[in-house]
Amino acid sequence: MNTNSQTEVIKDSSMLLQKTMIAENYDELTNTEETGKKISATFVPGNLNELVMCFDMLNNLPEINAINNGMRKKSGAMVMQAEKQGHSEDVCTYVKADIGSMSRGNLAPNGKPMPSPDLLLLSYTGCFTFMKWFELLRHEYGCETAMLHVPYEGDGVVTQNMRDYVVKQLKEVVIPALEKVSGVKFDIDRLRENLRNSARAEDDFVWVLESAKNKPSPIDAYFGGVYYIGPIFTAFRGTDKAVEYYQLLRKEIEQRITEGKGPITPEGDMQDERYRLVVEGPPNWTNFREFWKMFYEDGAVVVASTYTKVGGVYDLGFRHDPDNPIETLADYCLGCYTNRNLSQRVDMLENYVNDYQADGLLINSIKSCNSFSAGQLLMMQEVEKRTGKPGAFIETDLVDPRYFSAANVKNRLESYFQMIEQKRQGIRSAA
């Protein structure tokens, strides 16, 4: 590992900016009693940040809070608290971490209590659990609610009927609810401006993701990718700050390519790229660093991942379009990764393996998440069949530490790396 000061500087500039953005956002969220700002709680896939900002409202994302608590090793107790309150051990641990957190004072990472939302804005995109999670939150908070039902791409296409349905809900349900709660009149030009910012940031974001086609890859598109998606998937899409962040990030990555560097890891630059992987499924958060280390210490870099597409699939061409402001929001929601059918997901994975010259597909199957997980074994078979590259399957969970078995995961990964080696030797001896 190279941990020289140059690396620290490169790492720090975009990471520090993001850190400041997040801290400021939490300060804003926990300071609404003084500022009078209103809060909308919403989910990451299909979030309507550009629209919410038109009403001077703040976005609070329960999944992000659960992730934060997971990374700070606090979620285990929260999950168990929710189970004690009668929530089943079988259901998504994001939901239980969120509910458990409420019973423990709902503290933001800055240590201040998170105020109750003024509006629950449910974007029901790509996951059925959201709908019931949202009802559970309503049950707790009893506040104003608005629901945006985004139909699933069952046939792998967005029909006009689906798009019209979403547009209509945006116009007749979501916008009036936002106006009512915020007391601010909707201004479409303000929305256009935010969307313009989104598209700018999206261009740079896609450039960063695609930089992994280089050899060595200058980024890790899964573990590192989690940081790169931060602003664009959360409360910053559509802001000047997000545009600035992605410009900065892009410059850093350009620099890494020029210098022939691999990705940055918590222990400095990764030196020797030995395995290039595509990963499907969200990461585990409770042991994130330990999990990542199992990859970089063996020279494995993730060159493409589907988790970095849950809050929007931009690398297939979609950009928020200021000229069609409401329709573009509908298209965005409809196109999020888990709202796509299995064939589309398999196609994406197959293309990633080929386009990023990967050694194979690794699936991190998450116990909590049927939306991702149901069907993944078939997806792996299909991708193996179509690409001729070996696949591997590991099982962990999001924010419940009871389901992360480091020894099992490590064993699986090591056998997978050996399998890739054997495959390479097989190809060499055949040639």
Partner: protein
Amino acid sequence: MSTAEITARCKSLYDDLDFTSARAWKNADPERKVIGYMPVYVPREIIHAAGMLPLGILGGGDQMEVIHGDAYYQSYICRIPRSTIELGLTKKLDFVDGMLFPSICDVIRNLSGMWQLMFPDSYVRYFDVPQNYDDNIGGKYYIEELRELLSGLEKLGGKPITDAALRESIAVYNENRRLINAVYDFRAEQPSKAPSVEVYLLMRAGMVLPVEEHNELLNDYLAAAAVEERPVRDNCRIVINGAFCEQPPLNLIRSIEMAGCYIVDDDYMLINRWLLDEVSVEGDPLARLADAFLHFSADSAAKYCDRAQDVGQYLLSTVKKTGAEGVIFTAPSFCDPALLERPMLADRMDEHNVPHISFKYAENSGQMQPIREQAGTFADSIKLWS
């Protein structure tokens, strides 16, 4: 026919994982097609109007050994998709021309994609329903979805589906719903005369028989059950909730009754009672089906409840209407919708002092002793304290 004869017929249909009767129906005419559907709701009227047989696929139960299906699912996913895949791979569904996967949860949703990949020659449709109940928004969307389903079936069948045919089918299903509700009402009034296993099997028969035949069977059962004398037990009256998708084994249903609980209402095979009112046969039939779905349909965890105060009201009203003394929440293991909703329903029951217990099952659960004990203790506590 006596209830015993009717039950025996229904049981043989239930046991027959080769779907012999549906195969025979199809073989009687080369033009005929069979459309499979999974829980929780599809508008069978449209399939019927196309001259096709709607066939309910409810997994493999406890009689089928799942060998291939397990290779497709992680241990933390419920059992119905794996036994359904098993049915497909072992060619037990090779006579089925199309499959509908309703919007109920992410597992069935993703199973639709798996089916597309595994059985590419079959007509496969993910059947989405609106979670917005405004006629102008969700209603318009739903009518278009119905139209797409209809034109898919027209294409498959090679002939148009007329409004007149749709109206006739709506009428036949109205009659089916009327008879099914009559059986449920009869059981709620005199549960000793309609044991739950019998009612269950009778309803299951409706998943595989042509609706006209099912209607006859329901009529016969009502007539036979009314005159048959049976011992009355000192049981309490309970409602079952949460079993709307993967089905419990028959033994579980029997065990609950044997443990001292008459089941006076349940949500097994909710499709039979999804539409709560007669669907009008006037005007545009698709619009009438949409009206019924939006404004007169049963509540289940698969639906969004748009007003906080309405959560659990449907269950509460069922408890009141049937004079139930308690609720047994019984959901399949790993069933997200049922298990996520349960705490909200339980709170609503608490608010109204309705006692409740909960447990989980799988379609192949074998050990009934713990369930018998739990249900028995529940029945005793109701009898003692209510």
